[in-house]
Each structure stands twice: as structure tokens, then as C-alpha cells.
Amino acid sequence: MIRDEEAEDKGFEQFERFLEDWSRRDFLRRMGGAAAWTAFSGGVLEFLDACAGGNTTTSVTAKKGGHIVEGAFSDVRTFNSMLSSDTASNQVIGLMFDGLLNSKKNGDLVGALAQDLPKTSTDGLTYTFKLRPNLKWSDGQPLTADDVIFTYQLAYDPKYADVASPRRGDLSKYIASVTAPDPQTVVVTTTQVFAPFLATHGQYGILPKHVLGSLSAKEINTADFNKAPTVANGAFKFVSWQSGQQVTLVRNDNYWAGPALLDQYIYKVLPDSTTVANQLKTGEIDIGPVDPAQYDSVKASGNVAITEFPVAIFDFYAYNLDPTKLGGKLFAQKEVRQALVYALDRQSWVNAIYFGHASVATSVEPPTSWAFKAKPQVVYNFDKAKANSLLDAAGWAKGSDGIRANKDGLKLQFEMHTNAGNKQRESLLTVMQQSWKDIGVDATPKLIQFPQLVTEIVSTRAFDMFLVGFSWTQDPDEAPLFHSRNAAPGGFNGADFKNADVDAALDGALVTLDKNKRKQLYYQFQDIMSDQVPAPILMFNVGLWGTSKRVMAADFGTYNQFQQRPWMKDVWVSDGK
């Protein structure tokens, strides 16, 4: 999904490549405290070593009790897992409602309400989940397969068609049926083999049928439960929500994994990254995301430990390839698209724009993915001479005003759009403008509001070029951005990129569960994309989280940032308050 500021994670199946790296981290994790992570290197990324200086590493016994306050940028909108589509809501929902599966920070799926990963049928169409025994809701009612069926029905079953679920598109497409042969077993049958199914759709918080089951579809949309859930099955349960200020949760003693150590968890809404940084420093919040520009200042305060790790998020820009639009006329030639990337000195941006907390992107898959190919067919180093020669060869000669034009007199002149309010993206456009000015290309940055940007990308396609960040799930599938069927209005393929080979690779990788086959197809995909560059990936981001020194056992990681936090129940505070 395209993200504004935060990621949205979903789960996926195991990938062996990470196991070696992550076992190192298991060791660090047992040391307690908010330990730091080293990003693995595919030979391209730097090693990021951020040690939690001064953090206790001796074996301290966990204390029960106390509270933590977490700071975040957006307010929650709903507590209904099937209605929510924003990160903030999903984050808090994840603390109250477990799904069948959860994710470890390396992306491995683990059983949550389900005892283990499901048995998959040989044809790849049926998943059989066995629920844990004696699951209870916070009010003491048993949690059974009926609750699971009910939850999924809200999004795929025609009788709940009026429920405004953002999940309906996928679930009604892929789910054939969800049944329960007995109260402890759930059988999900899909309409076709869909490799990302478990990761993408196996982690939704399960809702209580005994509370919502009697409501009609329309009533569910406006149910009080969505604003004040009366029961929970996760580590915490709901207490109160002061809109625009904070959400308060308390420990759920009926949690299947055992009661959490904390008494209370508070989610506090803050307006921007400077406020989050300030409040981390003063201790008004205990946990919060750290903006790269604030990293040094937060670090220097001395009472916040910062965790740093690679994430499946990257910043990229896309050319409008629709032949009826200006972009289509300017960027139709591959040489032009490539030249513009060669002209960018991205390495210098790592320090200047990201203060060292990012890395130059080499491929269209994020480095955290098991399908990542570190050196695809074309690797773009900063090469201004090559950029110039490519443009000359493609027929764009420099005019007397220094701007290149083709033989029809069309100038290489366009607008770049991104959303206002994101410092890194603003700076990116500024440096790109200058880099391109130096090779005779006239690009003008334009900052617009995020909703407008979304409309432009998805519907009106009224842009020459846009720049956004995108965050991916554990699964390497990138069809939403690059498959030609998503180029129709309503889809995210705003670039209007249509390539039959890419389509074939992406489609092929979805319908097989054989990881090796998929990997080969994704390697092919990355090679083609590196050559065609319809949407050059600029930088791979890192996740930065600050935790106050009194917070212990927080275990942030690549896929354990916002929504999936199975470790939350083990978090404790050293002062017990």
C-alpha cells in the first residue's frame, strides 16, 4: 500500500534466507531492553549499527505492572478490524484483537489464535486451521470457529454486502468458503491458488459473534462497538477513547498467551514528528517513531534508546506513461527514463536528506524480501556523463536556454508532485530538480495535499511525475503497482505501465506456492523492471523507533512495527509505574 507516514504489515510464509541473520537477533533479544538491530547487507546496504547505549543487559527479572504511553501521528478511526483501513486503527486493533496468525519481526508467520500454521491442501486451495483450545474472550465467553467465520463473512459473504469493508474486494474475489467442521477447526477454501493469501488475509483481528452477530449489515457500519469495543481477545482490552487525544487500554487477563505484564497501554495522538521527538525526550511518551531528522537530537538526550532496522518501505517516483498525456510524450523512450535515474547522486542523499538512515535502492523489491535481487540486470550508479549521452542519443538536444528538446520542439519540461508535510519527500524533489537541471531537464516540484495526490495517482492521472513512499507486506507480490490490469482508473498503477512479460511473471508467481519457482519469477520481474524503469525506486527506508529507558523487552522489527506486535505482552517497565 502507499503510505503516508507509516507502514501496514501483513503476514507471509517462511523464508529461509533470513534465518541465519535472525538467530543472531534472538540472542540480542534475550539480553532484554530495546536492543538494536544490524541491517543485513546484500552487498549493497551499509551496516547500520545502533546500539542502545546504557541499556541494561544483565538479566533483570521482569516486573509486573505499570503503564506505557506510545505517541503516534494519527488518531484512530475505528476499532473494527474489518472496517479499518488506516495504520493507526490497525495498530490499536492489533493489540485488542488477534487474528488466526501473527507475524514475527522477520516476516515469518506464526500461529496466534490458530495453534499453528494451517495445513494446506495439495492443490493449494484449502487451508485448515486448528484453533487453540480454551480460547476465551475478555468477558469469559469462549472464542470458537464461529467467531472466525463471522469475521470473514463480513467481508466476503453477500448477506453482509452492505458492510463497508475495504477488504471486500480481495476477500470476495479469493474466498470461496469459510466453514467450521467443529468448533475448533476453521477451513478456508480459496477460489484460486493465491500465494500471498495467508500473509495478506490470515491476520485480521477476529470479532465477537456473540456481540455483533445479531446486527444487520448496515447496523454493523455504525455499531457502538466500533467506537468502544466491549470485549477483546488480544493482550489488551478497551477502556476509553478521547477523540483526538488518546486511547486507553488495560490488560486482558484472558489472553491466550498469558496476561501481559503491563497494566495499561495508552496511545497518544501527536501532531508531528518534532512533537514526538520532544515528548520522547521529556518522557511524556515512552515509545514513538523517530523521524530521521530528529534522530540525532533524540539520541543526544540520553534517555531514549533508538532501534533501527530495514523495512519493506521505499521512496520512489513514477513517470506518467499514458501516451495521451504529456508524460507519455516525454518519457516514452526507455533511454530518457534511464538517463534521468543516472543523473541522480543518490548516495549523497543518504546523509543530507536521511541523516544516514536510508540506503540507495537497487531493485524494485525491498531488501527485506526473500525475493530481493541485489544486483538486477541494470544497476544505476550516479553517472552524469552517461545521462547526458543517453539523452543526446535519444534525440533530446540542449536548446539555447539550456533545456533539452526533441526534434518536434517539445521541451523536456514537467512537474513533479508529492504530498506536502513530508520533509524527506520535499527535499527529494528539490535535489532531483537540481540534478536534472544540470543535465538540461526542467522539472518543477509541486507539493499538494495527500488526498489530492491519491486522487491524481488512482483516478485522474493528472500528473507528469509523482513521488511517494510505498510499504509492502511480507509477500513479494507487486502486482498492485505494476500489473497492467491495475492501470485502469481505480488502480494503483498510476504510471500506466503495461508490459506483457511483467504481467506474466507477476501472474505466474501468484498461482504457485512453490517458493523457488516464485523466486525465479520475481528475479525475472526485477530484471525487467530495472531495465524499463517505469517507476525508479530511489531509496530504501529504515524503521526508527525510540523507547524510553524504562521500557523493557520492546522488540521492534521489520514486520513488527505497527500492527503485528506479538511481543507486546512481554513488555514491562523498569520502574513498575
Binding site: S273, T274, D291, A293, Q294, D296, S297, A300, D345, S348, W349, N351, A352, I353, A420, G421, K423, E426, S427, L429, T430, V431, Q433, Q434, P445, K446, L447, I448, Q449
Partner: protein, 309 residues
């Protein structure tokens, strides 16, 4: 209040003796001007604003001959430099020269301020004159329109319009002016109403002077001092409004520099360079202060009745 265009001849005793040494005719305007000139602080502040405006207009000259930098050119490896050589006031997060940006930013900020004042004064004065002079139903309707614009909380209107009309300097001026003209209209109308009943107006009308002539030759000059005061104070207020809108992310968008968005930008990078906050902040403060003091001086000079003591 004043004698429009009337000349009061002073026959001084010494005139007949000295011949040409007659004290020059003192009109209201000249008197006021003298009073203003005597106010040293006022003059200083007025001059300061003028100088800032001139520097802003001559920005390319300064950029070429004084600072030797382009305001948009980044020097990524030279970011967050302290004042020194060759970056006289240091650099920002992308290595752009602060002084050059400050000068070009002045173009934008002062440009917005002066343009807004011009727009709101023009519209407000026109409406105020018409409403005040003609009275009756034109007055009612126009004043209701003014009331509507004055009733909407300004900041909300700014937010709405900035989201809708992507602001560059000119549209921003129009947006701010659309809120400010109402106050000017009310002010002008009040002045017109108080002057309208004066004898000389009635007299002028009775000899058949046309409306327009009346408005321009006789009403407008009376209203002018109030407008000048409003203009001087307005410049300062608009600079602050522009800065506030930049802070909210709704004003001049980067990478174009304005004093307001330089200040806002600097807040995020305070830890890396405190200088980035100091210079735009001081510039804004000094300019607004100067405009306030100049406005006060003008008010004191042109209407001693309003003077504090």
C-alpha cells in the same frame, strides 16, 4: 475633520517687511508630514522597510555580486554550516545559502504583504466609499456582504482556500486580502459617514458637483490617512499571517523560499543548526516591528487627536 484642499493663508506680521520671506502655506498634509518627519523612530522604521523592499527587488543583483549564490542551488556536503565564509549567514539542510534565500524570500514575503495591502485597500475603499456615500439599499447590501466575510473566522477561510487554490505568492495575497478588505470597508465607510454631513459637502453638492468628482476630490483625501495607517500596520500583520500559514503547511510551498517557510523549516532542524531559526526569525520580527512602529508614527502624525498624549 480637515479642510479639503483648503489653503489657509497665514499673514504674518513680518511678511510685509521681509517681502519674500513668507512662511509657506501650511496645509493639513504638510503639517502632518512635518510631524511625521520629526518622529525619528517612525522615520527610521519607514526607511528600514523601504530598504528591505529595495533589497528584495534587487535580489538578483545581490545574489550575483554580494553572496555569489543562487537561492536554489544545493551544496549537499556543505549543509548546516554556521555563518562564515563563503556562506555569510550559513547554510540550510540542503546546503543552500541562507542569506541569498533570505533576500529572495523577502521578495516573496514582502511581495505578498504589499500586494495584499494593495488589494484589500482597493476593494475595501471602493466598497466603503460607495456604501458610505450612497447609503440606502446599496449600503445595506454591501455591508451585509462585508459582515459575512468578517463573520467567518479568518483562519478557517485561509485554510479552506489554501487547500483549494494551491497558493503561489499572488493567490496567497488574494486569499489574505479576501478576509482583510471587510475591515477596510467598514473603516472607510465610517469615515465617509462622519464627513458626509459636513457643510462643505452639502455646499459642494448644492452647486451641482458630480458624484464621482465629489468622491474622489473631497471624500477620498479625508479617508486617506486612515488608509495609510491601515496599510502600514497591515504589512506587519500580513507577514505574520503568511508565516502562520507556512507553519500550517498552507502558505508558500517549498522549495520557493519565504521568510515564513524558512522559519518553519528551521524548527525541524533546530538541533542541527540553531542559526537557521535565528535569521528568518529576527528578520520577521524586525520587519513587523518596524511596520508597527511606522504605522503608529503615521497615526500620531496624521491625527493628533488619536495620539496617546
Amino acid at each position: 475633520m480637515i479642510d479639503p484642499g483648503g489653503i489657509t493663508q497665514l499673514d504674518l506680521p513680518g511678511a510685509a517687511i521681509e517681502g519674500e520671506a513668507r512662511r509657506p502655506a501650511q496645509s493639513y498634509w504638510n503639517e502632518s508630514w512635518e510631524r511625521l518627519r520629526a518622529n525619528r523612530i517612525g522615520v527610521f522604521c519607514g526607511a528600514l522597510i523601504l530598504i528591505l523592499a529595495l533589497i528584495a527587488i534587487a535580489a538578483p543583483v545581490f545574489s550575483q555580486f554580494v553572496t555569489h549564490f543562487d537561492p536554489a542551488r544545493q551544496h549537499l556536503s556543505d549543509n548546516f554550516r554556521s555563518p562564515g565564509h563563503p556562506y555569510l549567514l550559513g547554510t540550510d539542510e540542503l546546503g543552500r545559502d541562507t542569506l541569498t534565500r533570505l533576500i529572495y524570500g523577502g521578495r516573496v514575503t514582502l511581495g505578498v504583504a504589499f500586494l495584499t495591502v494593495a488589494l484589500s485597500l482597493t476593494l475595501g475603499t471602493t466598497v466603503g466609499l460607495v456604501a458610505g456615500y450612497y447609503g440606502g439599499w446599496p449600503d445595506d447590501i454591501l455591508m451585509r456582504v462585508v459582515d459575512v466575510f468578517l463573520a467567518i473566522p479568518a483562519i478557517f477561510l485561509f485554510i479552506l482556500m489554501s487547500i483549494l487554490f494551491r497558493p503561489n505568492a499572488i493567490t496567497l495575497a488574494a486569499i489574505i486580502a479576501s478576509v482583510g478588505w471587510g475591515g477596510v470597508a467598514r473603516l472607510v465607510r465610517g469615515e465617509v459617514l462622519s464627513v458626509k454631513q459636513r457643510d462643505f459637502i452639502l455646499a459642494t453638492r448644492s452647486i451641482g458637483a458630480r458624484d464621482l468628482r465629489l468622491i474622489f476630490r473631497h471624500l477620498l483625501p479625508n479617508v486617506l490617512p486612515v488608509l495609510i495607517v491601515a496599510a502600514s500596520l497591515g504589512v506587519g500583520q500580513i507577514i505574520l499571517i503568511e508565516a502562520a500559514l507556512d507553519f500550517l503547511g498552507l502558505g508558500i510551498q517549498p522549495p520557493t523560499a519565504s521568510w515564513g517557510n524558512m522559519l518553519t523549516n528551521a524548527e525541524s532542524y533546530f538541533f542541527h543548526s540553531g542559526w537557521l531559526v535565528v535569521f528568518p526569525g529576527v528578520t520577521i520580527f524586525v520587519t513587523v516591528l518596524a511596520s508597527n512602529l511606522f504605522g503608529n508614527a503615521v497615526r500620531d502624525a496624521f491625527d493628533p487627536r488619536l495620539k496617546a498624549h
